[in-house]
Structures are given as C-alpha cells and as structure tokens.
Symmetry: C2
Subunit: 339 residues, 2 copies
Amino acid sequence: MPPRRPVQRATINDVARVAGVSRGTVSRVLNGETYVSDAARTAVEAAVAEVGYVRNAAARNLVTRQSGAIGLIVHEPHSLFLEDPNIGSILLGINAVLSEADYQLVSLVVDSDRDGVRVASYLTGGYVDGVVIISARENDPIGLAVARSGLPAAFVGHPMDIEGVPYVGIDNRSAARAVTERLMATGRQRIGMIAAGLDRDSGQDRLAGFTDALGDRFDPRLVVEVPLFAHSSGIAGMRELLTHDDRVDGVFASSDAIAAGALDAMRDVGLSAPGDIGVVGFDDSAWARRTQPPLSTVHQPADLLGRRAAELVLAQLEGRSVEAEGSFLETTIVWRDSA
Amino acid sequence: MPPRRPVQRATINDVARVAGVSRGTVSRVLNGETYVSDAARTAVEAAVAEVGYVRNAAARNLVTRQSGAIGLIVHEPHSLFLEDPNIGSILLGINAVLSEADYQLVSLVVDSDRDGVRVASYLTGGYVDGVVIISARENDPIGLAVARSGLPAAFVGHPMDIEGVPYVGIDNRSAARAVTERLMATGRQRIGMIAAGLDRDSGQDRLAGFTDALGDRFDPRLVVEVPLFAHSSGIAGMRELLTHDDRVDGVFASSDAIAAGALDAMRDVGLSAPGDIGVVGFDDSAWARRTQPPLSTVHQPADLLGRRAAELVLAQLEGRSVEAEGSFLETTIVWRDSA
DNA sequence: GCTTATTCTGGGAGCGTTCCCAGACTCTCG
DNA sequence: CGAGAGTCTGGGAACGCTCCCAGAATAAGC
C-alpha cells in the first residue's frame, strides 16, 4: 500500500475566508474569548467543521510560548522498567491530575545515553511546559539538565544530589525501620536483608532503616546486595544469604519481587515461611498477594505519589510557590502470612 | 520555595550576534549543512555554548512541518494497562527502532473519553509525525481519527473495523489452535477455556482457534468468559468452570495471568497441574516462569511487534510504500510443566 | 441629539526558525 | 589573465498563529 501522508491542512485563514470574517475573529472564537457576536461565532464554528480545521500546535506554541504538555521521564534500565510495579500506578496518578487540568502527559523512556541527549533537548526545546522525573539516580544527567533549565519540575523520589526542585517520595528509612522492628517483635533472632538499588536513595534508605532497627544486633554478614529489584535477584540473594548463615530466621527484602524470589529459593531447600524464616517485602505490589504464603510488605501509595508530583508541577505552572522543597507520603505495613 | 520559571532563552539571533555571523549561517551550522567555513562553524559553536542556546522546537516545527516525534497510544482501561505483560516490551521495541532513527517516542495513555478528545487533537495538531496504536478495540474513536487524518500510522494488533492503516500482530487463532491441539495430544479429554477480551480481535481469535482445534468435541459449557486478562479473573473463571463440569482435565487460558489464577483456584480445591488438569497460558510473560508448576504457554514476540510497528511508521515517513496491509509474526509454544 | 461607554471587528506586527536567492569571494583551468 | 565553477555569506520571505491597537458599530445616559 502507498505511504500515508498527512493531507494538506486548513489554516485559520481558510476558516476566516469561508466564514466571511477576519483571522482575528476566528482566533477569538477558537480561544473562547468574549466580545464575539453570536453570528460570527456560529459562522466560524460552521466553517471550522466544513474545512476540517485543526489548530497548528507549532504556530500556537511559538507565540504563546507554551505547549500544553507535561513530560514524564522514566529513566530506568529496561529490565527495571519492565519489573517495576509502581511505575504504572504513578503514571496513572499523574495522568489523572493533568487530565483534569487539561494538560497532555507525554512519557519519555530513557534507555541509552544517546536517548538522554535527545530527551534533554526535547525537554528544553519547548515541547513541554513542565516535567515529572521518576527515579533519578545519582549524577543523572537528565535530572541535572532539567534542574538547570528552570523548567517547572518535580521528582518522584528524592535525588540525592539535586537541589531546588521539589520532590515527593516516601520515607523509605522509617518504613524499613518499622517493618524490621516488627520482624524483631515476632521473635526473629537472626534477621538478614536482601538489598537492591543502592545507587539510589530508596535503596540506601531501606538499608539504613534496617540497620537502624537492629542497632547493636546488626550483623553486616547478613546483608546481601543484589543488582536488581527482581525475582531472579531474590533467588540468588536468598541462596547467598543462606551460605553466610544457615540459621537466618528473618529476611527483609528490598522489594516484593525479591521477596518472592527468596520464598522460591527457600522452597527449593525445604524451608518455608513463616515457619522457618519470616519474609517481608516492599511495595505491596501485585506480587504480594500471589506468593505462597502471601507477603507481609510495606504499602507504597504509588498512585498518590504520581498525583502529588503532578500537582507540584501544576502549581509552578500557575505561578504559585511550592511550600516545601519536598514531602514524604505515609506508608503502611500490610501484615499477611509470610512473616 | 518560589515557582520555577524557565529562564529567558537565547534565540538564533543572539547566537548570530555573538558569533559575528548571520542568522542564516547559524542555521546552516545547526543543521550540519555543507558550505560553511571552518571559522564560521567554530565561532557559532562557541557562541551556542556561551549563550546556552537551545533550538526552539515550535519555530522549527512550524516551518519544517515536522516534529521529530512519534506518538504511542495506549488505549486501555487502567486495570489492563497495569496488568498487560506485553506493553512494556512493545514500548521498548518501538523505542529502540525510533531511537536509532533519531525520533523521539512520546507515549500517550488514554483513559477517559475526555482524554480521547485531547489526544486526538494532540495527534492531528502536529505534535507528532506519526503514531503507533496499541490494542485498538472496535469503534475506537482514536483509531478512527488517526485513520482519517492520513497521519503515518501503524497498529499493533489488528483492529477489526479500520482499513488503510498497516498493522502487525500475531496469529492468535493459529497459536490457540496449535496449543489446544497439543493439549489434546497429551490425552486430555475434557478441555475448557477461560476466555477474556472478547471485545477485541486477539480475544476472539484465541477463542476461535480453541474452537477450531476441538472440532466436534467442542462443548460451549466448557468456555467461561471473564472480564479481564487478570489473575483474579483466572481464579473466578476456574471456579466457574469447575461448577460447570468437575471432570475438566485441561484448560486453555487467554493469558498467563489468568492461567496463574486458575492454578491458584485449583490448589484451593486440592487439584494440581499437570496431574489433575493440564493448564496452558498465553503470552509467555514473567508469570509463566513463576507459577508452581511453571506454565506451558504461547510465546509472543512483543519486542519484535514493537520494532515492526515502528518500522512501518518510519517507512511511511520516508515515503516508502508499505508492502502489505498487515503481517503476523510467528509465535512459539513453550512447553513447561503445567501441561 | 450628542456624548460616552460598551461591544465587536479587521489587520499589522511579531514569535524563532528554515528556505532560498542573490551576491561576494576563492579556486581552477585553458 | 579572464571565464566559469565552486564555496561561502547575508538577509528577505514565509510558516500559522496570537496579541493588540485603532476604529466601526451599537447601546446607554443625559
């Protein structure tokens, strides 16, 4: 079949001609301004329908200096992007708020460094009026570029090395502390952790909270670091942990997927939860309800995270000042059967 | 903190002034044209760095009539969007191809009808040069709007009611037939199906393939329709199926998530796979390797689906004609332990 | 009826680019 | 040395829209 080509589009002048009015009047009708006679309005509306007019976004953006779009940057390696249980909900939360305010969300997935360059110029080139950035690691060039650009922005999560951009996150440290304490309170004596994502604040804070809770009883040999927040990492991590100490009776995993992997690794060697080892996850993702036994875990308000971030951007767009640099949303512990 | 405001941006005229050349020369350098002296080129590059110039996208789009961006429309109810195991891979496949060709992918998630209107005008307003649409249902207004717009486009999946737009999909019917036949070949006598998504071609075709394979032995009472491609639907579907006939010994599920739910429902009533009932899923998603036992399923080349769709759009953008209206990619059956 | 508001309209200017034409300057070659 | 080709540059015009000013038409007030 022949290539599809956009048809020659009608301009505001065509509409004006057909409607028998001037360019200015058409523009006024299009933008819903007052001071337009009913006769003119109906004529323009009919003409718009007749010629199939759609406003040229580029021309409009050029003069108004805004695009009506907000960017969402998801900067994750592919594997993480596919695994992350929160991104979907965050995205939907953002979309809900922006949709309400009549902004269009455009998501940019950044993979390679090459993408990074293109995305940075996309953002600063005026395609978007603001931006939400998920999961900025340390030294994230895009985060830095956005911070420098002055573009209204908000982070989901708290980048450690960027200032002046508001953020909304959860208090990973407190949540990890609370859940670890609860594990201790159920009588667990030798509690280990399978930690992931130590290159970002969330990962580090979860580890810190775990350490906080254990205090003197903290034993570094019981912390295993794994590369991904993934099921496979959970399996590997649990196996390694058991070689370090086969009397482990509690495990805090950095994510539900890791916890699920840990449960599977345990099953392979004849151990079960919560009997032999109490296992706790993080995220309260779809995983948590589907493992055997269902996971005790920390519930993350992902949807709300997205909504808040979007609101932060909108506030700036409207010229309102943002009260605090950052805020943390409440997490709740969901105690199921795995611990 | 005060609202962030984009700083006043430098224009090409500022660059020209600083570099001591004309607007035209700056433009030539920016666009990598020949016929620019080395002296001018270096002067311009230095000036660009000095004033922090970034090209204004709107102005450029206005005159070139292109945006350098391709839209991806994901038109799914929220629940599906979060569950769908393929969307992520498709997106990454598209992104890989477009990134190579230096196009920026912008993803638009459509939820409400209100979003639909905004998205349609976004697409036809010149923000994107082309578009990939995932999962168009019947009477999808956005699919229709795109088809009518003449915008270079491609569907992932085969919309039943839209013509003239190329698509790439998988042969759901053959795949379903093949997998059902294999289930029969292993000696299953009473094979049921838990079917989802009958409002779209993929769902209908899977059911049709299932019916094809069974031929005379098809028993409509053994087909249970569920609303979502989800775990919870699998649980409900399996329970319902067992009330219809408690001697079922084989089940084909429309997705891995459904199959996983079916396995859980079976476990609850003391049945197991493959001993009591052989269970087969669809997608070969992350689920498949994590159920107990691991699922036999149909592997969907999601990444490739995305790549092909992106290539179809690029071909049109380059004015090449597209050989066939649609194509179907090969699926493979992955036989694990659940059947 | 005349003045002053109020409502409505047309069209010039300008947004920041690219495109393209005309002219200047530099080679090359007979 | 002069003609022609090749290289390089400046700047006018246009892209399609919004903004805004000035003026026309209508309504309101005395």
